[in-house]
């Protein structure tokens, strides 16, 4: 899929400053919505964990656990239900490739 190319491109042109600069044009469906809650900047005061630069496998595992109900969430248990496994995988890969 395009995702792999996008990640490769994102890695090649690692952004100098703002997280999100690289590969933003190739963000998979749904990915750009996440930053409404998951801050891209470390400077933001929030209890919500950051997902930029996080291991994609961790994100996928967490999303599946939220989706199945194995892991309780506040909003993520509900949001996870709206995404297919492929969508989750693509979003996780894209965030994982973002430079922290």
């Amino acid at each position: 899929m395009n995702t792999r190319i996008a990640i490769f491109a994102a890695l090649l042109c690692a952004p100098a400053a703002p997280a999100f600069a690289a590969g933003i044009a190739d963000a998979p469906a749904g990915a750009t919505s996440c930053s409404g809650c998951h801050a891209t900047s470390r400077a933001v005061d929030t209890a919500v964990p950051r997902i930029v630069g996080r291991n994609p496998d961790e994100i996928v595992t967490a999303m599946h656990a939220f989706k199945s109900g194995a892991r309780p969430g506040t909003v993520m248990d509900r949001i996870a239900k709206g995404f297919s496994d492929d969508e989750i995988k693509a979003i996780a890969a894209w965030y994982g490739a973002q430079k922290d």
Partner: protein, 431 residues
Amino acid sequence: MAPKEMAPKEMARKQTSRRDFLKTAAAGAALLPMPAIAQGAAGQVVVVGGGFAGASCARFVKRIDPRIAVTLVEPNATFIACPFSNGVIVGLRDLKAQEFNYDKLAADQIGFTTASATGVDASARSVTLSNGARLSYDRLVLAPGIDIRWDGLPGYDEAAAERMPHAWKAGEQTLLLRRQLEAMPDGGTVVISAPANPFRCPPGPYERASLIAYYLKTNKPKSKIIILDAKDAFSKQSLFQNGWKALYPNLEWVSLSAGGKVNAVDVGAMTLVTDFDRYKADVANVIPPQKAGRIAEVAGVADRTGWCPIDPATFESKLVPNIHVIGDACIAGAMPKSAFAANAQAKVCAAAVAKLIAGQKPDEPRLINTCYSLLAPDYGISVANVYGPADGQIKDLGGGVSPINAPSSARAAEATFANGWFNTITAEVFG
């Protein structure tokens, strides 16, 4: 798109519009942004409205393709955010905490023009501004938010709003309602009139009622609050009602079928009139019917409902080509009119606009809305859903509201996350 890839006709049009733009730039002097005439611009995008939708869209178009010249048209130098402004009304926050400016957008090479859009010539692809300037566009994004329907509730006009504030656009109205609550003697009655759907921030009237009830319970315990509603059902209803039962015995909700619809207001008598009753208020907060901001009507993108039908994948108007409408002004199907939704739509629209300018096919999007409401400073509830296009509309693909039976620790956690959300989204849009 590189110039050599342009069809000759397209090229000619672009050159003309750029020349016009330079002409206008000369006439309008400092009003026009330098980046818009940057060399090798791959297209021109004009965004009207600098709220959560418009400011986000301007930033993301630029981030997706820095070669696109982006101009943001907004009459106010300071943006005052509506989310969390209910906290300002009851003294939990300062209005200052709601204020943001556009300095960081200028640093992103986005041209900022302090003016209102007054006209749109869709065939010439140009926007006229209140300062007389004219901006050409390849794609126009309208994010005008809401206007009050001053003809929507008999007796309620702009003068009436000085006595019975709507406080549905944050700023002076927010402070007015705050002062009225502070001045009200203990034992007084606060009445909120909630409109029929659709309107900005569906859970907003109920969060406001909750926080006012919290303020009264804390400061003026003999007082009561009544919500007169033009609806029988509302956002996060069972969660609100559950919380009210536990926290606020002095809060009463009167549904449409119980006679709650306000048909008129009598400002002189501080009275709200329903089918069967007249409610005398010490403080009256009238949340009136609304429509898309005026430029939507001027541009011809609003339909008879007063809102703007859009393509669910690109947010391009179904009525006028090359104009996109995002945020509260658009008809976004199952998505509510919230700041989170506006920001999510803006990013999807930005991606679509960049693709369309490059001559590519936009992707099928997914969007999220997460919307927190506070029943008390440490009591939060939420609705969270994923959306995508289906059958020409934006449909709900999954999600839901907070569990009805949750421990107080869960409500406290949601209140904490709500605060984090406000900090995060405002940092993304304005920071």
